[in-house]
């Protein structure tokens, strides 16, 4: 859904400039998820369903707390539960709220072939505009976090919007509003980064020497950040990638390959045109016909 009050900074499959006169004076926004404060209650999942009018199918218990077991077009955020045995032999329950990371350099947007189906607002939020989505699934190919899901019903891609509609009118996302422990916070990226530093200092003083902020540089930073107790091993948290990047295959395909191949195809056509203009057609003359006749009758 396009929002009048939010300028679009980047638009999929668009080569012309996007509106850039207005700049948010406070800079970009960010959601900070403090994994160390999360109790896994899934209130955020419920709030997401409520606000966004989403109702997933009631599934079956797969033997772990994860429910639903994966992101779907109806479940834009899921809690992932990992049991981790520390080298000291302690058991840690690492719970991570999974969902779109709202990359500053979004692979989904880069891969999307349909103009305006994926946009990034000036505040950094990445949004899918389903009315322009053609259902090709290229965003799935582009995303380093395995987030977008294609609906079987309308063949369009869905994911967390960071409640762009709420943010546009000055409210925090539904999950932030509802979180009972304050594990999810929302504000400007600057303030959230500062706030995270205080949390990290606190965690360090409690023996988590490797506590840190997850704001991966490979995708230009993200507008959803995590405070992790084991920031040196993000993969412990149900496979959060250590150094996420837009795949080199996608960068090649949607990067240099495009202008080079376009130029080469245009060149092939141009060379043909000018060859004809310079050399002229390769015609068969009357003489050729006579020579052919002659050759046969002489045999």
């Amino acid at each position: 859904m396009a929002l009048q009050s939010l300028d679009i900074k980047r638009r999929s499959a668009t080569t012309s400039p996007t509106p850039s006169v207005r700049e948010p004076s406070v800079g970009a926004v960010a959601k900070l998820i403090d994994v160390s404060k999360c109790i896994g209650c899934k209130a955020c999942q419920t709030a997401c369903m409520e606000w966004n009018d989403l109702r997933d199918e009631v599934g079956t218990n797969v033997g772990v707390y994860d429910n639903p077991a994966d992101l779907t077009e109806h479940s834009w955020t899921v809690m992932r539960f990992a049991e981790y045995e520390t080298p000291q032999g302690d058991l840690e329950w690492l719970i991570r709220k999974d969902g779109c990371m709202h990359c500053e350099d979004p692979g989904c947007l880069k891969a999307c072939p349909s103009p305006g189906a994926i946009v990034q607002y000036a505040n950094g939020i990445v949004d899918f505009h389903q009315e322009h989505c053609i259902g090709c699934g290229y965003c799935v190919t582009g995303c380093p976090f395995n987030v977008p899901r294609i609906s079987k019903k309308d063949h369009k891609a869905y994911k967390c919007t960071l409640c762009s509609d709420r943010v546009a009118v000055g409210q925090e996302p539904a999950c932030v509003k509802t979180c009972p422990t304050g594990a999810i916070e929302f504000g400007t990226k600057e303030v959230m980064t500062e706030h995270a530093q205080a949390r990290i200092a606190d965690l360090k003083s409690r023996g988590y020497a490797n506590a840190g902020l997850y704001d991966p540089a490979g995708v230009g930073g993200t507008h959803v950040m995590y405070v992790l107790h084991h920031a040196d091993q993000p993969t412990l948290y149900s496979g959060l990638p250590k150094d996420p990047q837009i795949s080199p295959a996608v960068s090649l395909w949607k990067g240099v390959a495009k202008p080079l191949s376009m130029a080469a195809m245009a060149l092939a056509a141009l060379v043909g045109f000018f060859h004809y203009m310079r050399v002229g057609p390769a015609e068969t003359s009357e003489e050729d016909e006579r020579n052919a006749e002659k050759e046969v009758s002489h045999e």
Binding site: A13, T14, P113, S114, V250, A268, T284, E287, D288, A292
Partner: protein, 211 residues
């Protein structure tokens, strides 16, 4: 031959071969136009030829399957004429003579010249590449790992580029060499055309014609 009589002709493609060729050509154009629409924003408007981006996305792979099956048939029919020969290398070496239309200096050409044979091989390879990678991209019916799909996207785009560029050359050759198009529209070529451009084939075809 009297001056007014029409030049005599030689059969080059049967009605069935021509139909096969045109199904391949039409589906190829539809695939190239819809595919380019996904490939570059500058071409997105082409998706409207198939009813907009959504329908282009839906239809492209099905047209692709028709294309591939018909292409495979055509390629099997024509393969035996495309065996590489020593004189083909010589012909290629003299490519400037080809471009400058100095055919009298070139080795005699059989049914196909070296560039036509090369085009044949390049298209066979890229059609196979397009088919396999196209299956990889086809979410309607298949679900591959994201790594496989990423590879498929690159291979599909690369093969499409090679195929489209080759077809541009192919279409240009048909426009440049006058008298070629009727081979595919009417099925025959004049004796003079064959004598000039494919002399070895001409000799083979007329052997005993006047005896």
């Amino acid at each position: 031959m009297s001056e007014t009589a029409r030049p005599r002709t030689l059969p080059r493609y049967s009605a069935s071969e021509r139909s096969n060729h045109w199904v391949v050509a039409i589906t190829f154009i539809l695939l190239a136009l819809s595919g380019l629409a996904f490939y570059h924003p500058a071409f997105f408007f082409l998706s409207h030829l198939l009813g907009g981006g959504y329908w282009a996305r839906v239809l492209h792979p099905y047209i692709g399957v028709v294309f591939f099956v018909c292409f495979a048939l055509l390629a099997l029919r024509l393969a035996r004429h495309n065996a590489w020969e020593a004189k083909d290398a010589q012909w290629l070496k003299q490519f400037p003579d080809v471009l400058a239309n100095r055919e009298e200096r070139l080795p005699e050409v059989g049914r196909y010249n070296a560039l036509q044979k090369l085009l044949f091989y390049v298209l066979v390879l890229s059609a196979v590449g397009l088919f396999l990678s196209g299956i990889g991209l086809w979410r309607e019916w298949f679900a591959f790992s994201v790594g496989t799909v990423r590879l498929a996207a690159v291979v599909h785009a690369l093969c499409a580029f090679v195929a489209i560029t080759s077809i541009i050359v192919h279409i240009y050759a048909a426009i440049w060499v006058k008298g070629s198009v009727r081979a595919m529209t009417r099925g025959d070529v004049t004796w003079g055309w064959a004598w000039r451009h494919h002399r070895a084939w001409f000799r083979q075809m007329v052997k005993g014609a006047n005896k």
